[in-house]
């Protein structure tokens, strides 16, 4: 079994304190190519676990919109070894892929989880993994398995193990929360009676920068998710907002008004000294670093209407990128740097658009009315954003080809300001 990789799941850095929050529920609301039929057979022995790993794996794959989950039940014997697999059965069920394996308790309280991904047509094994985990690591392990399957089948990195952050407004209470990408395990990292906005993940996923109004004005803070320690990044005269991390995690671009109009500055962490980057008498805001750290996208009304510009982090003349319509804002680089997502206003409606740098062609991805704050999944395949349904703020997602749409619903409150965390490559 040369493909077999034995991995030992490490505990993530984060302190996971299960909170009493209602999780976000995700539903697929439209499109869906579902081109990969896959059967996820129960792992032999997993019924003894507090939760079935295969249920979580199947739910992850289903929600990606790319997989069709084929019924894996109703078998006389559950296959856990390749030799036990009856391929004709799965062919008859139109499954192209099959997942099976086993879960066995070990002497030290750990569980030995094994699974295989099989190609039904070729009757070969595509991947096989083993994990030794505690029951507490069950969800995380399931997401890792789903990531491995997703990557093997689609060729793209999975994002099921990543996390998201967002702001929930309930009455006059604002909470900055962090949750798994499937909406589970939400934890509040900051609660306030004043607005919180613009959370931004550090590239290593250990800190979040955000804007808080707790001192009766917008001030940029940074908070560790490991120690919960927070510090001020920018508290100058006027407004301080729109934090964006450089890819090396050493600098933050922020918007300050200390010298007049809203302008973009670079703050070096540690010294917290701010160097002015843009020089206009107009509004320059919403900076976003390119993945190579060399350029910044931003919104400016220097040309008379709000449009998206790009400039070097070393200064120089900005180049205007959007020309269609009078309101193009909130630019975000795709992780491969080849395109950017933004918000475009058309006839009073605000929607997510994606523009290719090379062709300069923009494509509208949504048809809502109040979309804002787009954020890419680390694999670039999904754009999470905030929108409104019946007057309530919710999160929604659209695949970057526009075909798959998801909606995240919470039980109460307005959910807004999403930011998708980085993909942390575990051992």
């Amino acid at each position: 079994m040369k493909n077999k990789l034995v991995t030992r799941l490490m505990l993530c850095l984060l302190l996971v304190i299960p909170a009493a929050h209602a999780q976000l529920r995700i539903e697929i609301v439209g499109g869906g190519a579902a081109q990969y039929p896959i059967a996820v057979v129960q792992l032999k022995g997993e019924a003894q676990l507090p939760q079935k790993i295969t249920d979580i794996v199947a739910a992850d794959l289903y929600r990606s919109g790319l997989f069709k989950i084929v019924d894996g039940g109703g078998l006389a014997t559950v296959p856990s070894e390749p030799a036990e697999v009856q391929y004709p059965t799965w062919k008859a069920r139109s499954a192209d892929y099959l997942v099976n394996g086993s879960a066995s308790p070990m002497a030290n309280g750990y569980w030995d989880i094994r699974f295989r991904l099989l190609d039904v047509d070729k009757q070969t094994q595509l991947a096989g993994f083993a994990y030794q985990i505690t029951p507490q690591e069950l969800r995380r392990t399931a997401h890792k398995i789903a990531d491995a399957i997703y990557e093997k089948v689609t060729g793209d990195a999975g994002v099921f193990s990543t996390r998201i952050t967002y702001v929930v407004k309930n009455g006059t209470r604002f909470e900055l929360q962090v949750a798994d990408a499937d909406g589970f395990g939400a934890q509040t990292v900051l609660a306030s009676n004043e607005p919180i906005l613009s959370p931004a993940w550090s590239p290593d996923g250990t800190r979040i920068a955000y804007v808080s109004f707790e001192k009766k004005k917008p001030i940029v803070y940074m908070q560790s998710l490991v120690t919960a320690q927070r510090s001020v990044v920018a508290d100058f005269k006027g407004s301080n907002s729109a934090p964006a991390w450089s890819p090396d995690g050493k600098r933050l671009a922020v918007v300050l008004t200390k010298d007049g109009s809203s302008q973009i500055y670079l703050v070096t962490l540690g010294t917290n000294s701010a160097t002015r980057l843009t020089n206009s008498s107009a509004i320059d805001t919403e900076p976003n670093f390119s993945p190579d750290g060399q350029s910044i996208l931003f919104t400016s009304d220097r040309g008379g209407s709000a449009q998206i510009y790009r400039m070097s982090v070393n200064g120089g003349a900005p180049e205007r990128l959007t020309f269609d319509g009078s309101y193009n804002v909130s630019p975000r680089y795709a992780p491969d740097g080849k395109s950017f997502a933004f918000i475009q206003r058309n006839s009073g409606r605000f929607n997510i658009a994606l523009q290719d740098f090379a062709s300069r062609q923009a494509q509208l991805l949504t048809e809502n009315s109040m979309d804002e704050s787009p954020t890419f999944a680390p694999n670039g395949r999904i754009i999470l954003y905030a929108t409104e349904v019946r007057g309530r703020g919710i999160l929604a997602a659209v695949s970057s080809d526009g075909r798959v749409r998801q909606r995240f619903s919470a039980d109460a409150g307005d959910v807004r300001e999403p930011a998708w965390g980085p993909n942390l490559k575990g051992p």
Binding site: P195, K217, S239, T285, E286, T299, S373
Partner: protein, 187 residues
Amino acid sequence: MRKFLTRLAAIGAVIGLIAGCASQAPKEQNPAPVDTGKPVTAPVEPVKPKVVEQPKATPVEVKPIIANPLKDPGSILSKRSVYYEYDSNAVKDEYKPLVSAHAQYLKQNRGRKIAIQGNTDERGSREYNIALGQRRADSVKQMMILLGVQEAQIETVSFGEEKPRSPGKDDAAFSENRRSDIVYDGE
């Protein structure tokens, strides 16, 4: 649901066409004259209204009560809000006497400081709205500086769309929320 959304989108598109150019902000009537004498920021301590009361048997008090003009509903200084058109930061003529009165007060009271808090309605990007609110607050500040107020007496900040005064989703609510508020130190 999808169909409904598509239909909604279609209706929206048609309305858009009828309304004309997409680049134009929706035209609105002047915001209804909001706020007349109603104190706007912090709750105001009740000040005796200037209603003539029938004096009782006791003699009328001799000393006049020195009211704080900033909180006297009869004084223009108790008015603290400047309202704007959509996507605009121009201080309209009707609010110039208000700005001018505060400028005079600040010139006479050099020790006093104010924050001007800019606000926007909820449409559009939150961060862009922070910048737009800032520009609104700055427009009031510029006017005051031209009238002789010292720059050190004023800090302009923006709340963007984050602290709407009206929770509504209609034009009246939006008008109410496109606003700069003048807040004195200690208030």
